[in-house]
Amino acid sequence: MKHLTLRKSIGVLALLTFLFLLALMLCPLIGQVRLDFKAVFSHSATKGIDASSFIFFHLRLPRLLLAALVGASLAASGVVFQALLRNPLASPFTLGIASGGSLGAVLAIRLGLPFTLFGLSSLPVFAFAGALGAVAIVYLVAQRKQTFSTSTLLLAGVTAAFFFSALILLVYYFSDFTQTGQMIRWMMGGLDIVNYGAPLSLLPFFVLGTFLLLFVARDLNLLSAGDEIARSRGVNVERVKLISYLSASLITGAAVSMSGPISFVGLIVPHALRIMLGPDHRLLLPASLLGGACFLMICDTAARSILPGAEMPVGILTACLGGPFFIWILRSRGKRLVF
């Protein structure tokens, strides 16, 4: 009788943690300037600023940590949205969070407001506000008479996404070339930051959101069988849906506000892990946190090293990987994946 055991889960998560730590050590050594592991760590503080350790600790490590947090957020919320909407094609961006965030971002660029909030410039603050605004609007439309219908949620979310995209075009139209250039660049999704401020400001949202999601992991299994079955097996369906929708939206919105919409992470990682580990969310959810982190760390390292003398936004790389990956899934495992 095959089923998920605690032992298997611990084993898999230990392996993924090891891979994560390995990526954290090795990825910063790779790039336009190759670093030597010894040179980075043998340096003692008394000798003043060393180039190798400066690049490692001040340029590449904060960026890598941001990649880890964004990757973990997008992959985990992908898993959750696929369970919540009972749809394997759902992603963190299906319900308009990315479009809402992008609308905030392009408005910030167009208005050029020179303020900072908690050390953050107007752009991420506007993007986060836009994402939360989208979540609130979709929630208010979908919520009716204390019930929270999956199909209404999907329709409301997809409609909101289209509407925000239309508004983004409107802002484009009223912007000059420099601004539209900046906007398009932001919407490609990139992680080019140079200090620890971005990953640190993401951290509280990430911790709160993932804590709440792990709390409903087992309930998400039963949602896969439908609301009625889940409720008759003792799941408080309305509460689980609300917690998972709001928490997944929170970590997605926070991630998008720092990195722009990096597409396909929330699809590739959940599906790859589901094929390898099975659909049980008690393992799939924590595994997708670690797997998503590793995936985006490696992708971003590749994106900033692949072109000589230039750093490609990682969003372009993940988007290019996404299409072929899905064709491969449909051809090989489609039957098991989408019934």
Binding site: H3, A83, L214, F215, N221, R231, S232
Partner: protein, 267 residues
């Protein structure tokens, strides 16, 4: 009555102001096999949903083991009543064993908790009872209709309920599998003392296996009695609005009901 496990007291249910169930008062006995019959739209499925609190009555009261069902937690209800729906599919590739183990959900508590040996044993027993242990490692969605139905019942049994509610459990099955499912339900009722409430359109199987039948029409109770008292030709024809042939099976005392349509066009 002293031995009732579920008691309805003037229970009503309205959907968007439109009454679906009216003034239902009756009780279900501990360990009985109750068949719920009636034409489409009579409120049979709604009644089933009220009994496991997927819906709450708009007025009146439902007592589960003499306590108002509204006062019980979702977990408490799940530990007493389990529901077998007409059909369901898993969106993701869960195995049969995992689907059956989901029945243990109300007993696991906490989050990220895993099934203990006791839970695995109960699930294995449930699969043995329903003859689907050999399917354990298969993917649920790849099973045939009859296999799925047995797995769904196994998953409901893994909940260790005292009441099993079924919504047309045999509507997608051929005659052989219909009989097998009903024989299984009877065995669970007689050997394990389970209370079985089954909504069905199959008057013949209901007449053979049920202890009592509840006949509903337009959300009202028409009759609640033993099958041979409920399955009377005149009354049934009135309720179902069609001509019927009702008779006694030779050799046994059970009643059979056949459609007896009058030809619409005369040559």
């Amino acid at each position: 009555m002293t031995n009732s496990i579920i008691e309805l007291k003037k229970a009503c249910f309205a959907y968007d102001g439109k009454p679906v169930l009216n003034d239902l008062s009756f009780s279900i006995q501990r360990g009985e096999f109750l068949g719920v019959i009636g034409p489409n739209g009579a409120g049979k499925t709604t009644l089933l949903r009220l009994l496991c609190r997927l819906l709450s009555p708009s007025s009146g009261q439902i007592l589960l083991k003499r306590r108002p069902i509204t006062k019980l937690s979702t977990t408490q209800i799940a530990q007493t009543i389990s529901l077998v729906p007409q059909e369901f599919n898993m969106v993701y590739p869960f195995r049969v064993s995992e689907v059956v183990l989901m029945g243990r959900h109300p007993y696991l508590g906490g989050t990220l908790t895993f099934e203990r040996d006791k839970d695995l044993n109960i699930a294995r027993q449930a699969m043995k009872r329903t003859d689907c242990l050999y399917l354990a490692d298969k993917y649920f969605n790849e099973l045939s209709g009859g296999e799925k139905q047995r797995v769904i019942i196994a998953s409901a049994l893994a909940q260790s309920p005292s009441i099993l509610l079924l919504d047309e459990p045999t509507s997608n099955l051929d005659i052989k599998h219909q009989v097998l499912i009903y024989q299984l339900l009877q065995e669970l009722q007689q050997a394990d003392g389970l209370t079985v409430v089954s909504v069905t359109h199959d008057l013949n199987l209901a007449s053979i296996f049920a202890d009592r039948l509840l006949l509903l029409k337009n959300g009202r109770k028409v009759k609640l009695a033993r099958p041979k008292e409920v399955l009377k030709q005149k009354e049934l024809e009135k309720v179902y609005e069609t001509n019927l042939l009702v008779g006694k099976r030779t050799g046994s005392k059970t009643t059979y009901v056949l459609p007896d349509p009058k030809p619409k066009l005369k040559k």
